[in-house]
């Protein structure tokens, strides 16, 4: 009698132990493969000191992108092919508005950060199609041409090179930017 009672209990305990052990095992189920984003390759979410704001921290990925964007803005501002689209950079000169350079830098940095896989930022500006459609965005003084877009890409590469961004990352950023061509050149 005792033996017949013991057997099923032993089976249940053994099965429970196996199930429990397998449930707790770290190797029991395959981990989902998380592919590193371009943002991760640029430094990702690791917090580092912000060289432009003493005492503040910034994600390394965003800092890398901001450095490239700021360099690119300088190249664009000195490039007569497309600097007519960006005179707002100099708006503080005549209007006491101190946000021109900073605002464009922030917006472009956030846009590129989100496009490359950043999760902690949200781009709240217009989508690329509307931003470059004169009928929607009255700040566009005409449709952007393919030559304008090529000039922008050239300046972006120049800005990336000034920051010694590796060629493979420049290519990756370039591929993302090229996907926007049809939205910008309408």
């Amino acid at each position: 009698m005792k033996r017949t009672t013991f057997f099923p209990i032993a089976v249940i305990v053994t099965m429970s132990a196996i199930i429990f052990a397998s449930a707790c095992s770290k190797n029991s189920s395959p981990k989902p493969v998380v592919k590193a984003t371009l943002y991760d390759s640029l430094g990702g979410t690791t917090m580092v000191a912000d060289p432009a704001h003493s005492g503040m921290m910034i994600e390394k990925g965003r800092l890398g992108i901001r450095s490239v964007i700021d360099s690119t803005i300088f190249v664009i501002a000195a490039d007569n092919r497309i600097n007519g689209h960006f005179t707002v950079l100099l708006s503080e000169v005549t209007h006491g508005n101190l946000s021109g350079f900073t605002e464009l830098s922030d917006n472009l940095t956030t846009f590129v950060a989100v496009a490359t896989g950043a999760k902690n930022y949200t781009y709240t500006g217009m989508n690329m199609h509307d931003a470059h459609d004169p009928a929607v965005n009255n700040r566009m003084n005409g449709k952007a041409t393919s030559a304008d877009f090529d000039a922008f890409v050239t300046d972006l590469v120049a800005g990336a090179n000034k920051n010694k961004l590796p060629a493979n990352l420049i290519n990756s950023v370039g591929k993302i930017v090229q996907t926007l061509r049809s939205q910008v050149v309408q």
């Binding site: 300088f74 501002a77 007569n80 005179t87 707002v88 100099l90 021109g100 605002e103 470059h132």
Partner: protein
């Protein structure tokens, strides 16, 4: 009696709603209002050189400007003869930098100042959030 109560409730509701709209408008204006520059504020300015310059002169201009007090960053494009620089407005002013530039270099140069029309039709990547639009509306009304 019932109609009077409904009117009273409607009146209170509308009053509260309008009060909240005003509070929201004041809040948005306060957040987006033009702020005085702080130590981190940067301003960009541009100098157009009216004569040709070579790469060596561009490097010399870059080095000189980089060492001026209040200058953040400089880029000289010898092909377009444009000097672009950012500066800290609490330390210097664009006009002062240009004045010193003219005094130090024997070059015909002017500071480029965009017109209202230029500014109104530039920068396609401007912030366009709903709250920013509300701020611009309030600013326009004021």
């Amino acid at each position: 009696m019932k109609t009077k109560t409904i009117k009273k409730v409607a009146l209170y509701s509308i009053s509260v709603f309008l009060f909240l709209v005003v509070v929201l408008a004041v809040h948005i204006y306060w957040v987006y209002r033009p702020k005085a520059p702080d130590v981190w504020s940067k301003t960009m300015a541009r100098i157009d050189i009216k004569q040709s310059i070579n790469q060596q002169e561009a490097v010399r201009i870059t080095n000189w400007m980089s060492h001026q007090d209040g200058i953040d960053h400089v880029l000289v494009n010898p092909d377009t003869r444009i000097v672009v620089f950012t500066f800290f407005p609490l330390k210097t002013s664009g006009d002062k930098v240009v004045e010193n530039f003219r005094a130090n270099f024997d070059l015909k140069a002017d500071r480029f100042k965009p017109s209202q029309a230029d500014l109104a039709s530039s920068c396609p990547v401007a912030a366009s959030s709903f709250t920013y639009k509300v701020y611009k509306l309030i600013e326009h009304i004021l």
